[in-house]
Symmetry: none
Subunit: 188 residues, 4 copies
DNA sequence: GATGAATGAGGGTTCATTCAT
DNA sequence: CATGAATGAACCCTCATTCAT
């Protein structure tokens, strides 16, 4: 009988959303610090939440990661909605995201056949399609460039960044950006 | 504590080299199938060898991987010694290697600070330097291309291949090759 | 990797304290029987508890031992609080503890630089200081006796007992007690 | 068929004694550096000898240790044969031995029931008996002191030294010596 | 609904001892 | 006789997942 003492107060149903948010925030930090394979127990601990609650809200690692990375994709989608945005801007944003945390790419790759992961990937492709059409019609990139090329370039760069030492990421990102700029001939 | 019961026959020292070769072959297969982080016990099992023997021959994962991948690098070195070889050939060979197994890149990246890994990396850089000088003087690539650019391109592509589904690797490799060819302007 | 099949019933959090106590009791027995270096897996097995639970409660051997031996030190501290107690009583008690189990000394010595071990040692020194001052002012021991002498004597005796055959411990203890009594001149 | 190369020359029977000596010397060093429980493989390696040869010469750890420590006991025996030697000298010598290497005590204690260990212990007792008779008849120690007292004192001190940090051994030895001097009243 | 303890398989590593050559 | 490789049990520790309360 738990007559004892300092167990965290059971706040009842109202704690649900708060815990969920805490878990997402904690996961974002833990994934950024320790990578996508970090122990889920570390996430629960950082969120100040029981492991059971973590599993209730997110039945597996992917469910948790999808919640975390939904924001990143949303950011990309917001970008393409602003009229002036270019492929170059997209590279910038994705690079910035990858420099900050690397776990999205790891997940997209390590669980690439999971339906939820596929869905995130689809949204990224849609973003690329949109921006590519705009850049082509503006003459900023060659007509021969396909969405799959851009997707591959983005993937390779983000993957590379995800494996680089953090302090080397900015210079690696710059060099990679230059290579792909040349390949896609943004400037003309 | 002592154990023995009805153990496998002890073949004596003469089994050493054979076991060593069996371990390297088993590691090559296991790394190709399950990636660089595959359990070493799986390597010992597949080689038909006790775990202790694995550790005698190769005190850690990197020592084993170095033995496995030494061949790959040697192949690259042989390539650059043939006079007519070009950067394009190097891409072809590395791509072919990465399509086959993937673990070399993983090791170069995940243990990038280990001295033995650094040594393998150095050999790759030397290969790139040689071939780059040759291609530049032949006018096959632009003067602005640096060895670090090539190294990054190769790394990104190999890393990407290492994470791709095996059946998609050939088409991914072709697409990547095309992107970097454009970037480095091989053709003019 | 997930495992479960027909596992032992999960009794939930309420089993925590009971398991903790079972672990301490099991460790006390195992340490007494097999010494301080006994396998921790034996402790878990005797406690009827998974290895993981052992590690959850006590992240390493020292944490477990500290829990086990806290009682011993507490007993010493209780002794010195009773006004009439003498150095001779302290020897008696420590000897009795060492005759029963032996692992405390082994730990104090084998992990002497660990902070938790140092802490236990400090508590023993405090006990000695208290009792030494009392005995000196009562004229029961010579003024030249230092705390370090007593500590060394106690350590040597307890260590010796810890290495003796159990059935010889009482006579060894008596002989050692006599030697140190003579050395410290209790009687005059 | 070992047609191959740099295997150590098989010198035939003549290598026997040389290997034996090399093993003893190596064991002395290894035991001094790493304690009595050091891996036997380390001894063979340091001796430049196969493990099989080690086991041929010394079928177990104790056989090897007996060979190593025979010298120590012989030194004690030589001491008591010089007419003027006293118990105090014996303490000095044993202390010096224990400060240098600690493994003899560990063996005498950890394998105390092995016949060979018993034999070494017997020789030490004989040394004590001789010197005790001499000191008593010279009036250097009290008539009440028994050989078992001296044996215990020596054991406790040597054991303690064997567990102390090397740099603290000299001061610990001095303090212990003083305690036992007082206990046995050497000076009067 | 939340809690958080328990589980236990699995991987890495070490080392005493054996034995074909 | 020496060699030195092989064996493999045993230990340590981690972590994904479950479930009584």
């Amino acid at each position: 009988m738990p007559t004892n003492s300092e167990a965290k107060a059971n706040l009842g149903p109202s704690a649900g959303p708060a815990n969920r948010r805490a878990l997402i925030a904690a996961a974002r930090e833990v994934f950024a610090e320790s990578g996508f394979q970090a122990p889920l127990s570390a996430v629960a601990r950082r969120a100040g939440v029981g492991q059971g609650s973590l599993y209730r809200h997110f039945p597996d690692r992917i469910a948790l990661a999808v919640a975390v990375f939904d924001d990143n994709i949303t950011e990309l989608e917001a970008l393409v909605e602003s009229d002036g945005s270019t492929l170059s801007d997209l590279f910038d944003l994705i690079t910035a995201q990858a420099i900050g945390s690397t776990a999205l790419v790891d997940m997209l790759i390590s669980d690439r056949h999971d339906a939820r992961t596929v869905h995130l990937g689809t949204r990224v492709v849609a973003v690329i399609d949109t921006i590519l059409a705009r850049d082509k019609s503006a003459g900023r990139i060659g007509a021969g460039v396909e969405a799959a090329d851009v997707m591959l370039a983005i993937s390779m760069l983000a993957l590379m960044l995800s494996k680089s030492d953090p302090e080397e990421r900015p210079s690696t990102a710059a060099r990679g950006r230059a290579i792909f700029r040349a390949a896609f001939s943004y400037q003309r």
